[in-house]
Structures are given as C-alpha cells and as structure tokens.
Symmetry: C2
Subunit: 676 residues, 2 copies
Amino acid sequence: MNVTEKSSGSPLSGQSRVVIEHVSPELDGGRFPIKAIPGDVIAVEADIFADGHDYLSARLLYKFIDDATWTETAMTLLVNDRWGASFIAEKQGHYLYTIEAWVDHAASWQHEIHLKVADGQRITSELLAGAQYVDGMLGLAGGTGQGVKGKGKKTKNVVAEETPDVKALREMAALFRDESRYDEAVSVAESDQFTFYVNRYPERRHVTRYGQELGVEVDRARAGFSTWYCLFPRSAAREEGKHGTFRDVEALLPRISGMGFDVLYLPPIHPIGMAHRKGKNNSVVCQPGEPGVPYGIGSPDGGHDAIHPELGTVDDFKHLIAIAANYGMEVAMDLAIQCSPDHPWATEHPEWFKKRPDGTIQYAENPPKKYQDIYPVYFETEDWQNLWDELKRVLLVWASWGVRIVRVDNPHTKPFGFWEWVIAEVKKEYPDMLFLAEAFTKPKVMQELGKRGFAHSYTYYTWRNTKYELEQYMTELTQSEMKYYYRPNFWPTTHDINPYILQTGHEPQFLIRYFLAATLSSNYGIYGPSFELMEYVPFPNKEEYLNSEKYEIRLWDWDKTNKLTYLITLVNRIRHENVALQTTNNLTICQVDDDAIMAYLKTSVDNRLLIVVNTDAYSRRAGVVQVPIWQLGIGNDQYYTVRDLLTGAQYTWQGERNYVELDPYALPMHLFKLEL
Amino acid sequence: MNVTEKSSGSPLSGQSRVVIEHVSPELDGGRFPIKAIPGDVIAVEADIFADGHDYLSARLLYKFIDDATWTETAMTLLVNDRWGASFIAEKQGHYLYTIEAWVDHAASWQHEIHLKVADGQRITSELLAGAQYVDGMLGLAGGTGQGVKGKGKKTKNVVAEETPDVKALREMAALFRDESRYDEAVSVAESDQFTFYVNRYPERRHVTRYGQELGVEVDRARAGFSTWYCLFPRSAAREEGKHGTFRDVEALLPRISGMGFDVLYLPPIHPIGMAHRKGKNNSVVCQPGEPGVPYGIGSPDGGHDAIHPELGTVDDFKHLIAIAANYGMEVAMDLAIQCSPDHPWATEHPEWFKKRPDGTIQYAENPPKKYQDIYPVYFETEDWQNLWDELKRVLLVWASWGVRIVRVDNPHTKPFGFWEWVIAEVKKEYPDMLFLAEAFTKPKVMQELGKRGFAHSYTYYTWRNTKYELEQYMTELTQSEMKYYYRPNFWPTTHDINPYILQTGHEPQFLIRYFLAATLSSNYGIYGPSFELMEYVPFPNKEEYLNSEKYEIRLWDWDKTNKLTYLITLVNRIRHENVALQTTNNLTICQVDDDAIMAYLKTSVDNRLLIVVNTDAYSRRAGVVQVPIWQLGIGNDQYYTVRDLLTGAQYTWQGERNYVELDPYALPMHLFKLEL
C-alpha cells in the first residue's frame, strides 16, 4: 500500500501525543546506513508509546531512494512498548525507512465497547460516536462520510462508483445510528469486520513521524557471499625466471575456479618505480633485474591508471576479465594510495606530498624505519579537492576496464571522509562496485571504515586461534551492532601475514584454519598458491614469508593437489549448495564440554547445518555437543539424522546432548547437515 | 582557559581527519539534557580517533548557557580510543558541552623524535620542522613566529611585551635552527618543557567538532536530596469533626520538621465541586456535609488558582509557606489537571473538554468504570494552545505565592509535549521550580517523563519487596542510562497506595520498608501520619486504605511517637550528617550469602557507609557480607572499624568476608560508618 509522503499530521502540534524512540537498526543516530543484499529482510523495531491508555497504530514506511512515495506496513506491538515490522530490500541501491504512529481512536473505541458490553452497559451514545469513526473510514475509502476530519489519502473521485468497502461502511454508519437495530449494531461494533476497516482506513490524526529517515545500502549478492583467491600475476608463469603475464593467469583459471573461487584478486598491476627499488626479502639493495615491489607504484610508464608492461596491456587485462567471467569469476584490483618517487604525480603534483624543511618530498616513515621507495600522499594538502578528484578518476578508469571489486590497501592511513566521499561517488556511476578494506588496526578504526562504505573488511580472524577467542570474536561480529554494517572477510593468511600458528607447516592446522574461515564467514579468501600448498617458512621472527612474492617472482607448482586442495574444493562446493553458508550472521554457537571442540549452527529456511571443529591440531578430542533442538523445532524424544557432507557418514542423534570425537590426523571437522 | 567559539578548523574540510563518536552521556542523540545539581562532576567520554598513527588532542568544551565563550579542558586517552574529561556544573541553570579534537602534529613530531634519537639517527632536518611548530606556538603565545599557519586565539598585542613563554619559545625556535648547538636542541626537543608548550599552545588545524551541543539541566540542591512529608491539611485539626486549616498545619510543623522532613507536600487545596461529589470510601452517594475529594477540583469558589475556603485564604497559605521556611521546610503543591463539573473552565472553556455525540461533556471513564464527578481535560482540543497557556498561568500564580515544588498527579495521561513545554516555560521565570511526576505506569512512559523535564519521579519501589527485586531495580536506576535523567523518589506508601506487604501492620515490616527507602534513595517521602502511625487496614481486596483521607476528614493522634518515629528521626539526622546518603547513584551492591540480607555501600569523598538490611521481617537472618575492600582502599590484612550509627555498636572487621546477624524484632538493619 502506497501512501503519499507526510500525508497528515504535524509532529510539532501539541495534539501529537505519540513518542517514537530507540529505533533499531540505527547507526550513530542515523548518520550511517546499514548494509544488506537483495532479498534481505530488514527487521525494524522501535519504542512507541503515548500518554494515557489509548490504542496506537504504527506504520513502518520504506522506499527505494528514487521512489516518489513511501510504501508502508503495519507494525505490531511486541512487548513493553516495543513495536516491530520488516520489509524486504529487493534490489541493489539505497533504501530509506522511517516510522509514523498515531493514537488510534477507533481501535480504542472498539476496546472500550467490549468492556462496557461485557459489563452490561447500554452503549447507544457510544454507537453514535462509532458512526463518526465509520464516517471517517468512508471518506478514506472514497465515499463521503459525515464530518470527516482526518486528512488521509487524497480521494481521486469524490463521486466514485460505490466500491464494496464504501457500501459496507455506509451501511455500518447507518446501522450504528439506527436505535431500532441496537443488537445488530453492537454485534457489528464488536466484530472483526469493524477491526478490519479500522486497520484498512486508519484515521491518521496528529501523526508523529520519526525525526530520521534511516538508510539501507543494498549491495549486489556477491557482497554477501564470495570466495576470494589472491595471486601475484607475475608468478603465474610456468618457467623459472620468466615474468608472468595476464595470459599466464588465464591459463590458471581452470585450477582456481575448479577449486570453487569466484573472485580473483590481484595485488597492484601498475608500473613499478626504480628509485630506491627494494630487492629480495625487502633488501634495501636491489640487484639488477630484480622486479621490485608492486606497491612501489609509478614509473615513466605511468601511475595508478597504467598497467605494468611486463604483465601486458590494458587490452590484455580486459581480456583476462572477460575470460575470468566465463569461469564465473570476477577480477579485483588493489588500490594502494602511495607512489614511487618515479610516479607522474611526484612531478606533476608535488603539492600532494608533504615537504621536508629542505623542500624535498617526505618519504614514508614508521620511525625509526624509513621507506625511501615510497612517498605517502599528503591528505592534509591545501589542494585536497584535486587530489580526491584524481583518485576518483583512477577508480573510474578501472571501472571502465570492467573492474567491479577493489581491495584497498591500508585505508586506515587515509582520511575517513575521503573514503566516504569516493565510495559514494564511484557507486553513483557504478552501483555494483564493492570495496574491501585491508585495515589491520584498532577496532574502532576498522569499524569506522565499514560504516563509511566499505562493503567488506578484513578482520582479526587471522589471529583468533583458540575456541574461546573465536567464540568471543564471532559473538562480537554477529551479535553486536557490527552485524549491521561490518561484513567480515576471513583470511587464514595474506601475502603480508604468515601467522605464527601456521609457521610449523603442520597440515591439520592448515585444514582447521581454512575450514573455520570458510564456514564461519560467508566471505573469505586465501592467498594462493602459497596457502593451498601449505607454504610456511617465515622470515625469521616475523609474521611474514621468507622469499615473499612481494619482492621477487616465484615459480609455483600450479599442478599440485593435496589434502587441503581437496578440502577446499569440497567445502566450496558445499558452500554453493547450502544457503546457510552464504550469510554470516545466521550463527548460533553451541556449547561443547571440551575447550578445543567448537560447534556452531548455521541455519536458514530449509537448510540447517551443524559444524563441529577440533581447534587442537595435535590431539584427538572428544566431547558432548549441546544441540539447541528447541531452536530447530526438534522434540526431546525425537530422533534426527546428521549427515557429514565431508565424508558421507551418518549418525542418528536424539535430544540435546550428543557425542563427537575428532582426530586431527584423520579429519578435524564435521560439517553436518541436519535431516529431520 | 577560555577559547572563542568555533575558533578554528571546519569539520567539513577534507583535511579534517578526526572522528568523534559515541559521546556519553548523550540521551537520545542529544535530544534531552542530563540532570545534575550544583557541584556535580559531569564526566564525559567519547570515542576519538583518526586515520594513521598521529597523536591527537581533544578538548571538552563547556559553558553555562548564557556564557559568550566556551571553557575547555583537555581530554585524556583512557583505553581503546576512548577519551575522557570532566567539568563541574557549578550553578543552577543549563550547561552545554561538546568536544573538539584535532591531529596534534607537534606531539606526533616529538614522539617520532624520541624513536629516531633512540635509533641513533641524526635529526637535523627534523629539528627544522620542529622549529616551525615552535613558531606556531609563539604566535599563539602572543609573539610572532615565522610562518605561523594555525588560526588560534586572537592575539591582542602583536607588539606585546615579551612574556616568559614568548621568550622561552623564541629561544627554542632559534635553538632548533642552530646546528652548532645540535645536542642541546635534541635535548630540548625531547624535554617535558616542549611537551608543556605543545599542550599550552596547541596548533589547532582542521579541527573536528562534535555535531551536537549536549545539555545539562542543573537543578538546585534539593532536587538531589529531599525528605518529603505528605499530609491532608483538612485532617490537621485536633478536634473531632473539625475541618483542618493552614493554621492547624502550622501547629504540626514542630513535629514534622523535628522528625527531619524538609518538604511538606499537600494534596490539592482548591475548592471542591458539588456535582456527583463522592462520599466516604469512594461512595457514589455523598451524605450532606461530607467534604468531597480534593481531586474533584473546582466550584463556584474557583478552580486551580483558588484556595478551598475552609482551609483558609491565599494569605493564610502564604503564611504557612513563610512559617514552614522558618522550620527549613518548603511547601509543595499538587497539580491534578482535571475538573469537577462545577469548575469555571467547564462553562468558560467547554472546548477544552471532549463532547459526547449528544453534546454533553464526556466524564472520566476507565471502562467499565465511570467517574461522573471528574471531567478530564481534552488535550487533543483544537484550542490546545490556550489550554496550555492557562495551565502555565496557574503554575505561575502558584509560584507567585512562593511555591517552588509541584507534585503532578497522573502526568502520564497528559501529552509529553505539554510537560516539556510547560516545565521549560515555568523554569524560565522560576528556575528553582521542581516538578515530581506521580506516574505509576509502564517503564518507558515513566522514563519519558523524566527526560521531558520532571526533576523527580515516583518509582516501583513501593512494590519491590524482596532482596532480588530490590537489587535488580537499584541496578536499573543507578547503572543504566536512567541514572542520567531519572531522579527516583521512594515512597513506602502514598495516600493512593496501601501496599499488600504493609497490610498486616507488622512493625518490623514498616521499619524495613521505611529504612530501605531512606537509605537507597536520597529523595524519599512518607504519607503521614498514616505511615508513621503504621495505619494498615485496607479497603477490602485493594491496595487502598479503608476510610481513606481522600474521601473524609480524619482525626489523627499528632502527639504519638513509637519505634518507627524514633527510627525516622534518627535516620533523617544521619542523612543530614552523612553526604554519602545525599545522592542516589553512589551505590555499590555487596554480595551476601543469604537471600534476605541485603547489603550496599554508599560512598562519597570522606564518607563511607555500609548498610545491611534483613528484608525478612519475620526471621532472624545471618550471613557473610562481602565488603569490596579493594574499592575502599582497604588491604586484605588490614583491620577496620564499622560503627553502627543507629545503635553505637562497633565491630572490628578484617578482609572481605564478615559475619552479620539481624533480628527483625530487635532492629532489622545496620547503618555502618566505615572508619579506617
């Protein structure tokens, strides 16, 4: 049902008696939208109450941002003056919602009639008042009542054909005024039919409207469910010493898509500077012929809008995007806002860089460390508006090549205001654009980036190893306000992070870390083929890889398969077949009486999974899982089957408490489908 | 230190990098002020952070609403990007506070200097940058620097006398630029002296200012600490059948103030209507000579701005107010917005009442009950503005008589918007006016009245009897957001409520219910002399009194004393002597291993009380109280003395766990003063 905007009432009138408060979801007083994907149900709640004892009516109003009118749906009283309703965010784009409420005199009247009739009182005078309410409904239904006061929907045809509603209401008004048919009138006044018309034609007087229009940013489906594979294209060649190309990457797509990945993310593919170029293992001495760091962006060949010549041309890159699409994969680029001293900006826009007192450009520092190969961009420049415009232009160039996903390197070292602006600007032209924030920093900074528009965010998952840590973190991500705006993207490793827990190379540990990422978060990624080949040797005493691809070209065995590649392929297939794994917040953590075995339920309509993981990669663990059968609608005495989608094994369980045992050297996890 | 408003920066500039969020206290996005009394410390916190790794500076800005400029105080980083500072709300009226923060480049610079020097780097170039920061400080200090960019305080005298700061800064800038004194320059750059000047003359560039100016409504001291006594003046006479007068009330003041009360609250004192006048025990039949209900306001003698002739004249009432003041007592009136059919408004302003379809005025109903003696005022009237003005006029008339406290009867059946408006309007002319909301209804409605401006609110205390209920309720009142805006006023009984728990007349129960009210809440009251004389006989099956004073004149024994009057007198004296009992939110509930013994700490600077109550009025109970000695600064092995201010008994305790035993038939409570 559509209603015209601000159709009635005035919240400033002293006659408006309803209060609307504590609307949820509402981020920072309405400052930021919540996030959704098409088809998501947006459940809205609010405290709604008035003085006195009258009945209230409340409506959730929502619209796609371009719609001229609001759609509305009735809110229902839940408990303790809390009301709720929901709507479906059907399509990509921006939705708005707000609330209107008013004192429902007709409903209050019917309630009082019930009490008086039950008390044996004669309600002749009350019926006359009721007739006036019916007159009002009649006006809204398109008929003409007597003394209609409510300012409702504009009636298009005052002399309308008599609709069934108009006819019924006209008869009802007459009945209430006809003392000779008193018993019949009382019966109708008490009837569900009267209630029905009260709700269909509400007398909206002195309406209170919530002071905010709250937003929902709806991204395309892949924002909610995606499976990432990161590779360095220069390591895609199959021959020692050869620089990989986009063509070489194309040849790897059967393997990568065969494992079930749908986003191919490439670290920067731009020309690499020569000035202070770094060598192998981040050496400050670069040997002739060393390829440099892809993050040292910019050379005489161009900057952020150019392609590194050894990888190919812009057309080659577009060709890769097209071939990847054939495999159901998208290509994601990497935005690192920093420059080699050779970047064109360094000469064309010296004002975008901070000067030292001697007039030279300030290179990057993290005292006492110095990074002479990198110039950070100076966002406090007086010329910030041109800088912002240029960065927007770069993103639009990438979009023109066909890129719709951008991973942003260290967004937390650039102003939040810039991200909010540039993401909104780019999405105006390319609404299907998604941004992933690569920020590993303080919690509130990471949260803020989510609020400002990043569709995805890296997380602390990489360092959450124990059952306790994982349960705490999952509770924060899926139960706190973060669930509304922060879309976690779980990575067991990245090209920057070789976490201590995987530096042993212990195979069960890789299986566990992979499996947790892929089943706890609907968005996850791996850095390949390093991860699936279980590379683990660290740069000494660091959470970095020895001989990292960031500093050299690596020759990988792109044909190798192992237990982990088998698990990856299987789990990604299961993720595609089970919608419960395609969203993150549908998580229920289950109690297990073992401090290493973690169990969690993932549920959606018609798809119920119970996942059990032994987080101890070295010991066989056993315990009793407490299945929340009440939540699943399973009776205490009822048998139910759990079938492990990983192995095909089936168990018949009963009641809440069921035994599990997991040997990390066999398979440290169950992925049960519940069959009732 | 005063700063001019909005002296610098622009939150809309792309160069502003700091985020200020989640300010606390902040009610409903800044919609409502918090409450305080003069001298209260207002502790403000906020999430404050920026991109990158720079140091930040943050200032809490506050001012009395009439002040032209803001006062500021530095905020300090607490933990996890949470910052805090506080200010004192010194006087009655309205304060505002907000926050400004910016990237502190000079402090960041000093931090980096430390790291580089420790790393053995030569920082000649850095010192030149430092000299530029010192130039900026010099400009703010009233000297002239080189290339000052910051737009700070207006410098009054550009050619000023050289202050010590100017001299020191000028020397510092020169030193930093003098390579021949490198070591000395490094030493000064790292010094506390430099830090001191950074904080005294902050370079405020690209300042972020919080988007809200938040309010503190500071009421006079009695809003925080008051002791109420309610009586019906018509029952103040000492002779059977005689209507009490204000003069009779004056004669009772020695008793009432002697017990330690400082607010004398009188139910309505206006002319009482004759139409449908109620008789004894709420009878619909009124015998000739029955006095009627004081809440049936209005007769040919006048309405809300008139005095019931049998009580006295306006001058008599003013006389009572003056005499009460001599006893340190204030007189509170009762605002009940409803009319007898004989009220002047019923004829002069029929539009302020709802009409039935037959044109008659709608009397009050709570279906199926009818109250023909009362016309409710119709706040949805089209003439609402004149109605509001008239009610404001009534309050101003009362204020002109000298009344500064108004208890409002059933405010929850009148619009919230009206209360917000009328309280603010009256306080414009009488800023020391206090309003008590007599609303016993749903939680959110009661809370909203507090937010809209009521200084005090009745509570559910009257029905919170068990230790569990009391602890839950006290936690809600003193630990939730309610602590900022809801000032509880605890009443064990009222003239409307004879709670079931006291209907036995069991003396220990009266002692317990009294004592809990007087020590859990700094504001409390009793309905006397009914309560102190332990009247208990109910109207059958109701929480009301038999032969209630609402419907008849009672003759009381105003000379009687008993164990309860002794306790009241003693406790009120203790409340006056111990500041820890003069505020409500300074409560810490202590664990006791008995489900009836309740223990709580009340602490303020230099005054620490431990209160222990046996809530079981029928059994001797014993248990171990867990004293939070860590919070009191008492060591584990340290002896400390607890002295019972009620009996003079002293105990020497040690450690956390200490035994107590309370016999309700002796005295069911301890009021310990802790002496260290």
